[in-house]
Symmetry: C2
Subunit: 376 residues, 2 copies
């Protein structure tokens, strides 16, 4: 893995860089579409490759472990080959899904016992076996096994959990030292900063993580219901401590505004289900503001989905047509909205990058944040 | 409209022709994908245009009349513009949907009273207003308003119904004589032969329809549950009477075998929900036979969906991957299967055409029928 920092913004801490992995280069800041079980929901791989062009997508260890299962992924030669995606893949470690299971899991020092949401079958994740699962999946970037604390979280719990996440991190690193390449390409490891919304814990965790000297670093445990201001405050504290010359990944974030504000704080990588999940509910993010396409007001609006036209759906379809598809409960509506929203998110981070490189990021960001607050 | 018959097969009555309408030329025999409410379910218009290339698709008058409604379609400038499809469109007349509503409709000489399947609201279709609805939709080919009788059907009912369909036909024709072009292109009218599974009624109806001297003719009331042999018998009787120099459209048919057998009897045009509906249930039609992709046997079969590869999905995805998508209930699975099946149907009719032109249709047809009977 190589990370080259090309420019840091004058008016903010925003950075433009290039991250090179064995499945190609990624221009940062980047948004990674979420491909939960080996598919970015309702999007063809060709559309990812030729229209949305994210360079890297995310897969979920928990979901892929349950379906199709590690055996089949290994037989296929890894997730890239299984799903027909030649770009990069990052896998989360299952920590967030384990957190979501709440009543169906038990967290211990050794690892996490949990029940499958599909059939209730019992499973056990440890730092060591989660590394093995991610190696088998074949992700280009594999994430440390961590505990994602809820919001709000008591200080004592957050502190103990953070320390356990640090101990788990050591176990991940120890395990990875012992094993050779799984496939014919490198798999890079990112540790995760935790510490809930407590500044002192976040500082302590960021210093610990920085000390590990990994190729890249992640910030976890945010975007779990806390106010945006707390998220920004934590991201700022952490970014100021994490190494300048390594990529920083803020996990599970967020709205277009969240992304712009965190880019301004020095974050390089993002992922979130929002563009895809909200698309399936009829919410479009556009260059002019947010649209609920189910609204009757679009019924006879034959203008394109977004005049700035990020992907083919913006020129091929009108608002009235998309509104009709949602009213008639036609799945093509969800497909169109998903491609539009992913196109918009990728446009957003690409344009942010251009603005960082051209030196007028902050002005543009403030204007865009204003625009993104509009509901059309 | 222009129809040029290029060749008739020596060993059968199969025909190859070219049908030219104002939205482009159609090579026959042709299969028309069904786009019920202005969308071929889960298929992007770009995929229709560039991958499946059907030249003509079908829209359903009943569904489009209810949603989005005629007012919006007229404001859009017709269905082509509304949905962003520049190829040809044929609309059915609503006769089949009215037949499907069974308990929610009352058929009288004047027309059909029915209740919407969406909200139970009351509506009235007459031969005259169904012509107007199809004109507003803007179909290139509009179909006569008919009664589609069920199977089995008593002789007396079938006979009376056929005569009413003929009287309705006169009303359609009278109405169309009085009205100018709706949009800036021609809309061609096809009458429909009825008569259930009674040879004498089919002959009588086919003679009546032939006498109308329309630009093309359709065979309705088949593919409603009768044995394939009865369908073929009726299609043969009717094709032998309908004019040679006009295209013949067998409505709602059918399996790949049904299509091949009816091509051999002289049918030029087909439509059916089977490739799309069955795809959504995990059934693939391939050049090697039929596949239920949900079957566990495909779990680790990493071979392409179909080695003959009609569209991009056949090379982009493996059977194991598609099986996984269905197992995980991921909508991309339905999208992939739909494109595959439509690609296969279009490949089937295109190859039939090539074989007719090259003079070895019958041999190929018999081989294919054999292959299509296989369940893999």
């Amino acid at each position: 893995m190589d990370f080259t920092l090309l420019k840091t913004d004058v008016g903010s801490k925003a950075r433009a860089g290039t991250l090179t992995l064995d499945h190609g280069s990624i221009e940062t800041p980047i948004f990674m579409p979420v491909g939960t079980v080996g598919t970015v929901k309702s999007v063809h791989q060709r559309e990812l490759r030729e229209d949305i062009k994210p360079d890297i997508i995310l897969g979920n260890t928990y979901h892929l472990y349950l379906r199709p299962g590690i055996e089949i992924l290994e037989q296929a030669g890894g997730l890239h080959k299984f799903m027909g995606w030649e770009g990069n893949i990052l896998t989360d470690s299952g920590g967030y899904q384990v957190y979501s299971l709440s009543n169906n899991r038990k967290i211990k020092e050794e690892g996490v016992h949990f029940k499958s949401h599909i059939d209730g079958s019992k499973h056990f994740f440890t730092p060591e076996n989660v590394m093995e699962i991610q190696r088998s999946i074949g992700a280009d970037i594999i994430m440390a096994f961590d505990e994602c604390t809820p919001y709000p979280c008591e200080y004592g719990y957050a502190k103990n959990s953070m320390h356990m996440t640090h101990r788990w991190l050591e176990r991940c690193i120890e395990h990875l030292k012992k094993v050779p390449f799984k496939y014919d390409y490198a798999q890079t490891f990112f540790p995760i900063v935790q510490g809930s919304t407590y500044t002192d814990l976040r500082k302590q965790s960021a210093e610990y993580i920085a000390g590990v000297n990994a190729d890249g670093n992640a910030i976890g445990g945010l975007s779990v219901g806390e106010p945006a201001e707390e998220m920004y405050a934590m991201a700022e504290v952490v970014c100021d401590i994490l190494p300048q010359d390594k990529p920083r990944y803020l996990m599970g974030v967020g709205t277009p505004i969240n992304i712009l504000e965190n880019i301004a704080l020095g974050v390089d990588m993002f992922d979130c289900v929002m563009p895809t999940r909200n698309a399936r509910n009829g919410m479009l993010f556009t260059s002019e503001g947010t649209i609920n396409i189910k609204n009757k007001k679009w019924e006879n609006d034959f203008s394109p989905l977004d005049p700035s036209g990020m992907t083919f759906v913006d020129s091929d379809y009108s608002k009235a047509y998309l509104r009709h598809l949602f009213a008639a409960n036609e799945y093509l509506g969800k497909q169109i909205a998903t491609i539009h929203n992913l196109g918009f998110y990728l446009w957003l981070v690409r344009t942010a990058r251009e603005r960082i490189l051209s030196g007028d990021f902050s002005d543009w960001k403030n204007k865009m944040v204003n625009q993104m607050n509009k509901r059309l």
